[in-house]
Amino acid sequence: MIILVFIFVGLIVGYALRRANILKKVNQTMPLTICVMLFTLGITVGNNSELLGNIGNYGWQALVLSIAGLAGSILFTIVVSSLFFKNAKDEKGGSNE
């Protein structure tokens, strides 16, 4: 949970100093930080022959999880759309349903 403290501190600092130009730099340093961490994760994965040998196995588990997540969020959004966003014009495309 310590990471949430860091985010919260960041939120306050970011909001308080939102006019400061220096913060615009964060949008450049953040992708860089993510790249450093992903490269590190890549090294860990590439160095791990057992993991690399099973990459197909993880691939299909990932596929199932991603499809489930998509299906779930779309399903609930259909419900929310039809209950609460009926009045918005042309909320549906209309070619099906």
Binding site: R18, M30, S66, I78, F85
Partner: protein, 210 residues
């Protein structure tokens, strides 16, 4: 961040790790170092959300019912991920919920899961789950982008936003604008920002359940 950069950097890392393995060079303790990079990253995530120009402007145009859209995305993703968790014997429901909580934020979710799960399940299993999170959330972003016109046609303007998850605020925003119309842009940004904030919260929550 560019679409190809992230998988590219990850692949380059894999290649480097593989080369080191073949050359039989032992790698230093990357885990110990990367936790501090992670803290720095979390601070930056907070700063970038807090300081974003359109943040307060968009919040003003949103009404309470618009909260239902990110809520639907979160509940839908998590409930269906839990069902998958029942089927995958290797992983607990909480593990699958942690992967699902990425909502398309593949870089952050994979890193967080590896860091937060390795104390309890060991680095090997945590790296496996992190790899699944990386792939699952890359797939989600790809599917969301590719299926946006189809989703719009059959399920309405909000479906591409929900499918995009966290990427409705950045990567998928141009597509959403084109497919669902520019009047959906504030909703897409609002949705993406809220999901963005929910990702570290849900991942650390589900990683703490073992």
């Amino acid at each position: 961040m560019s679409n190809l950069l992230v998988p590219g950097v990850f692949a380059a890392g894999c290649l480097a790790g593989l080369t080191l393995n073949v050359l039989d060079v032992s790698i230093p303790d990357l885990h110990g170092i990367s936790i501090y990079i992670l803290y720095a990253l979390m601070l930056q995530v907070g700063i970038s959300i807090g300081s974003s120009d359109n943040c307060s402007q968009i919040l003003r145009t949103m009404r309470p019912k618009h909260l239902l859209i990110p809520l639907a995305t979160v509940i839908g993703t998590l409930s269906f991920s839990a069902v998958v968790g029942l089927m995958l014997s290797k992983w607990s429901i909480a593990d699958c919920l942690a992967v699902g909580s990425g909502m398309g934020y593949y870089s952050l979710s994979s890193i967080l899961i590896v860091q937060l799960k390795s104390p309890s399940m060991g680095l090997q299993l945590a790296t496996e789950l992190g790899t699944i999170a990386l792939l699952a959330n890359i797939f989600r972003e790809l599917f969301a982008l590719m299926s946006a016109p189809w989703l719009r046609r059959h399920f309405g303007k909000l479906a591409p936003i929900s499918a995009a998850g966290v990427t409705s605020v950045d990567v998928a925003l141009p597509t959403i604008m084109r497919i669902s119309g520019s009047e959906m842009v504030p909703i897409a940004i609002f949705h993406g920002l809220l999901i963005d904030m929910s990702v570290p919260f849900f991942i650390s929550l589900f990683c703490s359940i073992s």
